[in-house]
């Protein structure tokens, strides 16, 4: 049995290491995301019903319905969301990932990423910035106005610029940012800067007004997390070919919807193993405390699943000012992740770790054996709809997801006649 698992995991790791995520352009959710329609709302994490959604996810759904013109205020949106007329589905079921609430609606512009090694695609919305934003469940007028500006100015300008520039190799760009102090989840300062450096010469060549071009460059410049929405679909396009490999015990999805944390195991197909999401241990913005925090939320943990984010914390010592702890803690977190992963990343090398590759490919048996859970760097959303981000910190998945997955894996292997 172990030989079968070893071979399956070797195949899964080959697929992971071979990935070549590439930015191809910008599209629109309705047109580009598979099986999307006007009354479908995608969200982060495993599937969830409206009545079980947490405050920030409900808030983002309300905002999404107002943005689409399907409701004109909170009351109307809440009624519509509860009516059964809106179809809610997990982003992951549509080759998509979304940070925090991860709400994607039909008209939203999306990054189009192609994994050139396997010809599969992944999609993600464009990052709105920090504070009162839809992904943290805020839906006030300023949030909707910003989303409209992103649809009508930001996306068209960047779409034209990417077209002029041609495809951008994200694997090589992420490899560079990992050597520039980013871990690609909660620190994206280097990535955002590098992206601006790549795209700015082409932004100025587009036919848009100087005012629009300047606004776009300023928006990216003012948002240190702009690159997050590129590392996420890059990781998603990397991990999809790692899924559905018979007998593989690699984790190919981790995601949270604000109520539950879910994982998927390669050899167990599309099945989710979920448990209540944890509260994040971190630093809070002035005026907020742990009491205000919503449980862990968002698809951004796809970065850790692919071998960056919290797993690459050693390379981002500055992150500890944002999430708490010391630079030595960051090194310790990365070091401990080698205990539960299959390989060191071929492309993402960390100078502070003597250019060792990041710990990559979480293996189910190792997590259970060692009881070491993946470490995740993340933002903290307020538990109430409409407030926004209140801090940032560190969190781990519930052990139950992994225990249930191991039990299901053994049952599956027994069914196949591979175990006593």
């Amino acid at each position: 049995m172990q030989e079968l698992i070893r071979k399956a995991n070797q195949q899964a790791m080959e697929n992971l290491q071979k990935a070549r995520p590439t930015l191809m352009g910008i599209g629109v959710a309705l047109k580009d995301i598979p099986n999307m329609d006007k009354k479908t709302i995608l969200h982060a994490g495993p599937p969830i019903k409206w009545e079980n959604m947490s405050g920030p996810l409900k808030g983002a759904v309300i905002g999404g319905l107002i943005y689409e013109g399907l409701a004109s205020n909170e009351e109307e949106a809440t009624k519509l969301a509860a009516s059964g007329e809106i179809k809610f589905d997990s982003c992951h079921h549509h080759q998509t990932v979304g940070p925090m609430a991860g709400v994607v609606t039909a008209s939203m512009p999306v990054w189009i990423i192609q994994n050139k090694a396997f010809d599969n695609y992944a999609y993600c919305t464009l990052n709105e910035g920090l504070g009162k934003v839809l992904r943290y469940g805020a839906f006030s007028e300023e949030v909707i106005t910003r989303l409209k500006w992103m649809e009508n100015t930001l996306a068209p300008v960047l779409k034209a610029a990417v077209k002029l520039r041609g495809p951008i190799d994200l694997k090589s760009m992420i490899a560079q940012v990992v050597q520039m102090g980013d871990e690609g989840h909660n620190r994206n300062k280097a990535g955002t800067s590098l992206f601006i450096r790549e795209i700015a010469p082409y932004v100025v060549l587009t036919d848009f007004s100087n005012e629009a071009k300047s606004e776009v460059l300023k928006f990216m410049h003012s948002n240190d997390h702009f690159f997050l929405n590129l590392t996420m679909p890059a990781a998603k396009s990397t991990m999809d070919p790692v899924g559905n490999i018979p007998h593989s015990t690699l984790i190919y999805t981790m995601a949270r919807n604000g109520t539950e944390f879910g994982i998927r195991v390669s050899g167990l197909g599309d099945q989710w193993f979920s448990a209540p999401a944890e509260i994040i241990d971190g630093l809070f913005f002035p005026g907020y405390t742990k009491e205000d925090a919503n449980p862990d939320i968002g698809d951004s943990v796809i970065t850790e699943t692919s071998g960056i984010g919290g797993f690459a914390m050693a390379t981002a010592p500055a992150i500890v000012q944002f999430v708490g702890g010391t630079p030595q803690d960051a090194i310790n977190f990365t070091t401990s992740m080698y205990e539960i992963t299959e390989q060191e990343n071929d492309a993402y090398k960390m100078p502070t770790m003597n250019f060792r590759g990041t710990p990559t490919g979480i293996e189910l048996q190792k997590v259970i054996e060692t009881q070491i859970l993946p470490i995740i760097n993340t933002g903290i959303a307020h538990k109430d709809a409409g407030v926004g981000q209140v801090g940032a910190g560190l969190v781990r998945p519930p052990m139950k997801c992994f225990e249930d997955a191991l039990e299901a894996f053994v049952t599956q292997m027994a069914k196949e006649g591979l175990l006593e």
């Binding site: 049995m1 172990q2 259970i368 009881q371 225990e403 039990e407 175990l419």
Partner: protein, 59 residues
């Protein structure tokens, strides 16, 4: 002198495997000590140990 007593007359370098309180006691006495980060397999959970064993058994 017995060999064990010779050992205790030297500067000790200790690796502690087990309860962390032994490590803390030595550290407080300024003894050079390293604590090994150890925990029982699968946290000692019999059900999980059984599942892991089943996957490791050869059929």
């Amino acid at each position: 002198m017995h060999k064990i007593n010779q050992l205790f007359q030297k500067d000790l370098k200790v690796i502690n495997m087990g309860l962390e309180s032994f490590y803390k006691d030595l550290k407080e006495q300024d003894v050079a000590v390293i604590h090994m980060n150890w925990r029982p397999r699968a946290g000692g959970n019999p059900k999980m140990i059984d599942l892991l064993n089943r996957l490791k058994s050869n059929k």
